[in-house]
């Protein structure tokens, strides 16, 4: 983990004792990261919020089973990933080969993203298949290692490497609009 802060075991214990402040701290640290990750895959604000909500509810309800020796973010991202997969299945969207033209581009995002210099990257990310987008975000945005991503997605490291390399190349093509090699 090179990006983002991690919470300590003490905070988890406080949450287990019903300390409201501990829950608030955990939510404030992770809600943006989980929501952004989910949003970039499902591409709809309300669906992303529902999935993020369920992620936290599920994780807090089974907090007792969390191994405090491991980073909390990996646990959260694993739950979020499973919920995203369920969502895509329910909505009959293929996780591996989602229709690339599918993009909701709702008003909220339009308004928000116009103000940002990274609009091109953001648009290119929405055009990537969900799994590729997920890999790019987990590796380059969240800073997880190949091993950590393997734990979250339950995919072998070798597959992750190949897919990430392909995703980077695809992202470059989408941003610059040309193909090399």
């Amino acid at each position: 983990m090179k990006n983002g802060i991690e919470i300590d075991a003490q905070l988890i214990l406080s949450a287990l004792n019903g300390d409201e402040d501990a829950y608030q701290k955990i939510l404030n640290i992770y809600k943006g990261r989980i929501f952004s990750y989910v949003y970039r895959i499902v591409r709809n604000y309300h669906d992303a919020e529902d999935i993020t909500f369920d992620t936290f509810i599920r994780s807090f309800k089974s907090l007792k089973s969390f191994d405090t020796a491991k980073p909390f973010s990996i646990w959260l991202f694993t739950i979020a990933h499973n919920l995203v997969i369920d969502f895509l299945r329910k909505n009959k969207q293929n996780y591996e080969y989602l229709d690339e033209s599918h993009s909701t581009n709702n008003d909220f995002v339009k308004e928000y993203e116009k103000k940002r210099k990274l609009e091109k990257i953001e648009q290119a990310l929405t055009k990537l298949p969900p799994i590729d987008c997920e890999l790019v975000i987990l590796y380059h945005k969240e800073g997880h290692s190949y091993d950590e991503i393997s734990e979250i997605l339950k995919i072998p490291v070798s597959t992750i490497k190949i897919r990430l390399h392909r995703a980077r190349k695809k992202l470059r093509e989408l941003v610059h609009g040309e193909t090399f090699f």
Binding site: N3, F60, R168, F180
Partner: protein, 175 residues
């Protein structure tokens, strides 16, 4: 000279930070000779760096409250403590008045000095009447407009609901 596919593999490896010293030399040598690969490398580095800086989206402002409500985690409030402190103070004062010898002494003194007390009472009544004469024109004027009556009713309601809220909070904290 290395072929493009091979250099692409090495560039990807470099982005993962896994290249050896020899591979680094190979990449740099190739990039210095091949403009196409140089452009590919630069664009790839720019994009992957930019992904790390893409904005973070946030759920709606009441997200935390919704999660905590669903989990049944109550927000800690200072009101039950305040209400308990007030109740304690009232009870303490009442017990003091009932059982303290000081109350008996004061009552005794008060009874023996009824004329003085009556004199004091007359003074108070006089002061209040004078104050009434002074205030009444303003009060009459105020009550001609409905705003004062509405304000009064509103105040009574606020006091009533504040009391109910305290009672509810105290009930919640005890359960």
């Amino acid at each position: 000279m290395m072929i493009h596919k091979e250099i692409e593999r090495l560039i990807q490896k470099r982005l993962d930070g896994k290249t050896t010293v020899e591979e680094e030399h190979e990449i740099l040598l190739h990039l210095s000779l091949c403009a196409e690969c140089q452009q590919f490398y630069q664009e790839l580095v720019q994009i992957t760096d930019a992904v790390g800086g893409v904005i973070e989206f946030f759920p709606s402002h009441n997200f935390n409250e919704r999660v905590l409500k669903k989990l049944g985690i109550k927000k800690s409030s200072p009101w039950p403590k305040v209400a308990t402190a007030f109740a304690g103070a009232w009870l303490g004062s009442l017990l003091f008045l009932l059982f303290s010898p000081l109350t008996k002494i004061l009552l005794g003194k008060g009874l023996t000095s009824i004329p003085a007390f009556m004199h004091l009472l007359n003074k108070i009544v006089l002061a209040l009447t004078s104050l009434g004469h002074f205030i009444m024109p303003f009060v009459e004027k105020s009550f001609k407009s409905p705003a004062t009556a509405i304000g009064l009713i509103f105040t009574v309601f606020i006091i009533y609901f504040f009391g109910r809220m305290l009672k509810k909070e105290a009930k919640c904290s005890s359960s």
